[in-house]
Every structure is written in structure tokens, then in C-alpha cells.
């Protein structure tokens, strides 16, 4: 033993030394790469720094949720890209979850047709590479949409065309009051819920919580419309001719086809994995649990809600967290179809225009890391909430 030779008998010191060596080796490797990069960049006349974030970006972006044009800074362009990434991820996660749960439950259906359709859906969509699905939705499916002048009209207030989906724009007055009322409604619902729980636990009384909550959510904001001067009008998209054969829509909001295609592809693809998680979760709950629940007189809905789902969720949540993370990271394939996410806008255009590869790629990686860790943390919190509470 080398440690014996070195006369290190103290166990603590023996345990620490290998760790210290590992950390030092790791540090030296990092410093080696950093120094090497710095020296080589210096030799080639490449400067390093983050000052460019304040420079004028001077390129425009198709679609942005905050005010942006080329006169804003690269930092602002980063924010636009980040918000677009978050937007498509949230939409994707929302629909992937809904489709995934429906398909997962359908696979267990007693109805042969429904079960088979769900099975085929899963097998087809999870076995085709995501990038091909994105191309399919963008270049094949959306290409079949008509030009603006022949747009598919929904009651003349919304139009689906190859240039995007034009929907009415909401124009609010006193939006703040409305927003506050919605928040107030949610707080009220929280108290109603805890009151109902207390009633049930103490007196065994079942209150119609869902109906009461729904009524609160509708009534409180409604009051602001009637008495507090909140109003909502719509601006409808109108066809506009630009030249003899070129048309577009003016007014309203345009949901760009890139967003539609990407959200579709991401949610259809990820839903297959979530569906399998849901199926595994439900199958993972012992048959005896359902039988026991039935024997104490719970009805079918109550069995699902009170007995099966709480146990199934514990199995479903951890792998589904992975799928949410995958979806968020997969949204970086957006660049292929010109959806202005953080990779296209920041790690693409901004990188090209400034040439600051190391800075921009590091920022982008850190951003994805932060996004992923945030989702993980939220899901871990949710998982803990759903876990068995040992009393």
C-alpha cells in the first residue's frame, strides 16, 4: 500500500487525497483548455468578451413576444430567442401531456379499435426521427395549405394559410384589473379547497368543489367586466392585396407556420413516450388495489381518481420529467425550419454576425442547463408532493 509507505494512517486524510487529486486534475484540464484557447485566440487576433451583448444587433426576427427590431441589442435578441424557446416548449409540453395521457389510457381500453389505433400511433411516431417529423409537418403538411387569398376561413374571423394562422387580436382596456381578479379567483379557490377538505375530514361531508371553483373562476372576473370598466374587443385579420397576386392579412395576430409545425412535431413525438409512461403507471398499480377500492363502495371515477391515479402518478412522473427535458432540448431543432428559437437567433445569427463563438455557445449551453434544471426542480417538487406520505 502506497499510503502505508507514505505513513498516512489517518483514514480521513487517506480518503481526502484521491478526491483532492481528482479535483486538481480536473481543474488543470479546464485551465489547460482555457489557457490554450486564450493564447490561440490571441494569436489569431480574436478578442474575448461579453461587451457585444450591448451592441446593436441590426438583424430582424420573424416572431417575437417582446418588442424587438434590429435597433435593439444582441442581449435583447438573446431574450427574444429564449422566450421563443420557452414558448414552443410550454406549448409542446402542454399538448404532449394531453395527447400522451389520452393515448396511454386508450391503449388500455377494452375497445379493440381504440387500443389498436393508439398502439399504431405510438409505434409510428416514436420510431421516426424527430427532425424528419419536423420537416414533414413543415414542408409536406403545411405546404398543402392554401395561399392567403384562398385561406381556410373560420367564420371569417380566423384564417389558416401557408403564411400562418391569422387569429383575432385581443384588445383590452384595464387589463391589470382583470388580471388581479383572476389571481383573486385562484386564491379564493385555494381557500374553498382547504375548507372542503376540512369539512370532509372532520364531518365526512362531500362538497361539490369542482363546480364551486369553476363558478368562482368565472364570476369574479365577470364582475370586473360589469362594474370595474374592464372590456375586451377583438381586432380581426383582414385580407390585404400587396400586388396583383401577392396577398397577406393585416391586423390580428399571426401564428407563424414554423411555430405550428415545430409544436406539432414536438408534441406528437414526445406524446408517444408519455403515453407509454402513463400505460406503465396504470398497469403498475396492483389489481388488488382496484378490487379493494370497489369493495368499500367507491364508484369507477372515484377508484381512478382516489386510488389508481395517485399511485400511478408516482410511477409516471419521474420518466415524464425526462420527456419534458427532452422536449425542451429537442426544440433546438427549430433552426432547421426557421423558427426563431435561441439556437437560430443567438447561437446562429448573432454568432455569425459577431463571430464570438466561445462566448455565445457558453451562454446558450448555460441557458439550456438553467431551463432543464428549472423543469427538473419543478417536477421533483411535484413528485415529492405525490409521493407516499409516511405518517
Amino acid at each position: 500500500m502506497i499510503f502505508k509507505k507514505l505513513n498516512i494512517e489517518n483514514k480521513k486524510a487517506r480518503d481526502l487525497i484521491p478526491q483532492a487529486i481528482t479535483i486538481l486534475a480536473l481543474l488543470s484540464v479546464i485551465i489547460y483548455f482555457a489557457t490554450n484557447a486564450q493564447i490561440n485566440m490571441g494569436n489569431r487576433g480574436i478578442s474575448f468578451g461579453f461587451g457585444f451583448l450591448n451592441q446593436e444587433a441590426s438583424f430582424d426576427i420573424t416572431f417575437s413576444m417582446i418588442e424587438y427590431d434590429g435597433s435593439h441589442s444582441y442581449g435583447r435578441a438573446f431574450l427574444v430567442g429564449l422566450l421563443n424557446t420557452i414558448l414552443v416548449s410550454v406549448i409542446g409540453i402542454f399538448f404532449a401531456t394531453i395527447i400522451g395521457v389520452v393515448v396511454g389510457v386508450s391503449r388500455l381500453s377494452d375497445n379493440y379499435l381504440i387500443a389498436k389505433v393508439a398502439e399504431w400511433y405510438v409505434e409510428i411516431f416514436r420510431n421516426i426521427p424527430l427532425i424528419l417529423q419536423i420537416f414533414f409537418w413543415y414542408f409536406a403538411a403545411l405546404r398543402a395549405l392554401p395561399l392567403p387569398e384562398n385561406g381556410i376561413s373560420f367564420n371569417d374571423i380566423s384564417f389558416l394559410t401557408i403564411k400562418g394562422w391569422y387569429v383575432p387580436k385581443f384588445i383590452w382596456t384595464n387589463f391589470n384589473i382583470f388580471l388581479l381578479s383572476v389571481i383573486a379567483a385562484f386564491i379564493a379557490i385555494y381557500f374553498i379547497n382547504s375548507y372542503a377538505t376540512k369539512q370532509r375530514e372532520q364531518f365526512g361531508k362531500q362538497l361539490p368543489v369542482t363546480s364551486i371553483s369553476l363558478a368562482t373562476l368565472i364570476l369574479i372576473p365577470l364582475i370586473t367586466f360589469l362594474f370595474l370598466g374592464v372590456s375586451l374587443t377583438f381586432e380581426y385579420p383582414v385580407l390585404k392585396q400587396l400586388s396583383s397576386t401577392v396577398y397577406t392579412y393585416e391586423g390580428g395576430v399571426s401564428i407563424i407556420p414554423e411555430l405550428i409545425a415545430l409544436a406539432l412535431a414536438l408534441s406528437m413525438y414526445t406524446a408517444t413516450f408519455i403515453a407509454e409512461n402513463v400505460r406503465a403507471g396504470i398497469l403498475g398499480v396492483g389489481k388488488g388495489q382496484k378490487e379493494a377500492a370497489a369493495s368499500i363502495g367507491l364508484n369507477k371515477n372515484q377508484i381512478l381518481k382516489l386510488v389508481v391515479m395517485p399511485q400511478a402518478l408516482r410511477i409516471i412522473i419521474p420518466p415524464t420529467t425526462n420527456q419534458y427535458l427532452n422536449l425542451t432540448k429537442n426544440s433546438s431543432l427549430a433552426a432547421a425550419i426557421a423558427y426563431p428559437d435561441i439556437v437560430l437567433v443567438f447561437a446562429g445569427t448573432a454568432l455569425m454576425q459577431t463571430g464570438r463563438a466561445i462566448e455565445i455557445i457558453s451562454i446558450t449551453m448555460l441557458t439550456y442547463l438553467t431551463l432543464s434544471i428549472s423543469i427538473s426542480m419543478f417536477m421533483n417538487w411535484y413528485n415529492k408532493k405525490m409521493a407516499i406520505k409516511e405518517k
Binding site: 487525497i17 487576433g45 430582424d60 393585416e250 433552426a335
Partner: protein, 348 residues
């Protein structure tokens, strides 16, 4: 004894740092060219090209690259290695190109790249010359009723490539005309063509040579036309890494040789027979007078090999751009003696 371990680690750590410095330190300042040595050792020129732009750099079905940008790399290979075919082509997107060059993945970037101040000065690149004078234009559908950029109206959607000067020029142009527009920027040229062809956008904007070349890829090329206006200057040329002056000179003078050869009427078929020419300028071009190659550490036949194996600029242009129907008219890319702006410093 813990101390001695610490000392070892410190020594190891310090030597690692020294190695790091040693590796990075070489190259700058000395007359020798690291890139040239590496190229000779590897036996091929590492050349970055486009992912397929007819006339400039395009691969045929069997993977053979051709085009006027490709010819720059072939010229360098002929000069340095004696064989124009000894080139390894790396197709790059607009976004990847500069990083590929500064990181050493390629040694010459010949990929219809616009020479601008910030690219030249700020990100470790050096432009060595111009092999095509271009300008940005717009393509529209013939039946659109748009006959000039003055017919553009608020709300027009424009497709282009991301990571290009085109994206910036487009904004300058629409802003100066006070037109609001929808910019849609794709990573690959093929995707821009597909989206424009499908009707996602009303106009497609890039360098005019690019428009002419990409039009051939449309499902029905005759339905499209390029508007007459040119909204920017786009001098396209080969690029090298900053910091290797000898390599920079080799690439610059390989291109200059092709242009000067055309000026003096030296071409691939008559070059070797002009060794005894009366004109000293021609004799220098074909290597029978002077010791010009020695300046870069090459032999004296380097320029003769370029002309014999690759041809002069006129031959290259005719073969790749004119005869393919992309831009039959040479426009500004004509010699200065014939009304164009191609003018290179003398090789002497």
C-alpha cells in the same frame, strides 16, 4: 510526506500549464508557415466550400466538386502540392464557416463569402482578395406584378439565409424604404428555396449570383424572375486564418495569378509554350524568369501549374458561371482592361 505529494501535484500542474503555453505560442512572427508545412505533410489542401451553390461550389452525383470557388482551392493545391486534385472539401453552412476556419478544420475558406470590415478585423480572419463581385437582389414570382423593389408594400414576407450579410442588408433596405416586412431566415439554402417555392414568402433575397443559381433548383424556374435593383455591395472572396502571413500570401497570389494570366492571355492550353515569350511579365507568370516562388517557399513553376491545371480566371468563369447559364454576362467581373473592375497587383 503529504507535503511531497502536494509538491508533485504542483509540479505536474505547472508543467501542464507550460505545455499549454508552449502549444499556443508557436506560429506567430516566424517566417515559416505552419499551415504550409501541415498541408505538405497531409498531402492535401483543407478547403471549406458551400453546401451546394451551382457555379461557385457544387458537387456532382459522384461527389466531384466544381465551381469558381472550388478553383481557388484547386489553384492553391496546384501551387503547393503540384496537383490541383489534392483538395479535401468540407461543405459548410454559413453559420459554421468561420469557426471551421479559425479552429483549423479548414485552411482556406472559398465559400462565396462577403468581405466586410468586421469580419476582416474582428474575428481572426483575413480576406485575401475578391473572386466575384456580387450584389444583393430580390427574386419574385413573374405573375406577382412586382417589377421593381418600389412595388414592395408593408407586410411582404422575405426568405433568406441566416448568418449572412444578406440578413443585415435586407433590414437596412426595408428600413430605408420604410416598409414593414416579415423576415424568415433558414439555415440551409435548399430550405430557403423550398419555402419560397411553396409560397411561404413573397420574395427571396440573397446575392444575385446566388439567386440565378438557386432559380435552377425551383420546381418551375421560368415562373420566377430577379428584380433589376441591386441593394448592396457583395465582394466575395477566399478567406484564411489570421496569423499565418505566408499562407495568406500563397492563397492571395494563387487567385491573383489566375486573374493576371487572363490579362496576359495565358491559358491552360498555351501556358507551357509561352516559356520563351518576349514579354517578361508572361515569363514571370510561367516561371521562366525571376524567383517569385521562393518568396513563399515554393518552387518557380507554382504559377505555371495553376494556369495549366486550373486555367485562368476567364476560363474558370466561362466553364462554371457563363456556360452553365447562371450569369452569361460577366458584368463587373470582367478585366479592368475590358470595362470590368478585376484589377490585381502585378506579380513581380
Amino acid at each position: 510526506m503529504i507535503k511531497s505529494i502536494k509538491t508533485w501535484i504542483l509540479v505536474g500542474f505547472a508543467s501542464l500549464l507550460l505545455v499549454a503555453c508552449g502549444q499556443g505560442g508557436g506560429g506567430a512572427g516566424s517566417k515559416k508557415s505552419k499551415t504550409l508545412d501541415n498541408t505538405k505533410k497531409a498531402g492535401f489542401v483543407k478547403c471549406g466550400v458551400s453546401q451546394g451553390l451551382p457555379g461557385f461550389s457544387n458537387a456532382d452525383a459522384s461527389g466531384n466538386w466544381s465551381g469558381i470557388d472550388v478553383d481557388v482551392c484547386r489553384a492553391v493545391a496546384a501551387a503547393v502540392l503540384g496537383d490541383a486534385d489534392k483538395v479535401k472539401y468540407t461543405p459548410l453552412s454559413a453559420k459554421e464557416r468561420f469557426t471551421a476556419l479559425t479552429s483549423g478544420e479548414i485552411d482556406v475558406l472559398a465559400r462565396n463569402t462577403t468581405w466586410t470590415l468586421s469580419r476582416d478585423a474582428d474575428i481572426g480572419l483575413t480576406f485575401v482578395g475578391v473572386n466575384f463581385y456580387d450584389g444583393q437582389g430580390f427574386m419574385v414570382r413573374k405573375n406577382s406584378g412586382i417589377n421593381s423593389v418600389n412595388d414592395f408594400k408593408n407586410g411582404i414576407s422575405a426568405c433568406t439565409n441566416t448568418g449572412t450579410t444578406t440578413e443585415l442588408n435586407m433590414r437596412d433596405f426595408f428600413n430605408s424604404k420604410n416598409i414593414s416586412y416579415e423576415p424568415i431566415a433558414f439555415e440551409k439554402a435548399d430550405e430557403v428555396v423550398q419555402a419560397y417555392d411553396a409560397g411561404r414568402c413573397d420574395t427571396y433575397t440573397t446575392d444575385k449570383s446566388g439567386l440565378a443559381a438557386q432559380r435552377t433548383k425551383m420546381s418551375n424556374p421560368d415562373e420566377h424572375k430577379v428584380l433589376p435593383e441591386t441593394i448592396s455591395k457583395e465582394p466575395l472572396g477566399p478567406v484564411v486564418r489570421q496569423g499565418d502571413a505566408v499562407w495568406e500570401d500563397i492563397v492571395r497570389w494563387s487567385l491573383n495569378t489566375m486573374i493576371e494570366a487572363e490579362e496576359y492571355g495565358v491559358n491552360s492550353s498555351n501556358a507551357s509554350s509561352l516559356k520563351d515569350s518576349e514579354n517578361p511579365a508572361i515569363k514571370r507568370l510561367v516561371g521562366s524568369e525571376g524567383e517569385l516562388g521562393a518568396a513563399f517557399g515554393l518552387d518557380n513553376e507554382w504559377s505555371l501549374r495553376i494556369i495549366e491545371q486550373v486555367g485562368n480566371y476567364g476560363e474558370s468563369y466561362k466553364k462554371h458561371i457563363a456556360d452553365t447559364g447562371i450569369l452569361p454576362n460577366r458584368g463587373p467581373n470582367q478585366l479592368w482592361t475590358k470595362g470590368g473592375i478585376l484589377y490585381v497587383p502585378p506579380a513581380r
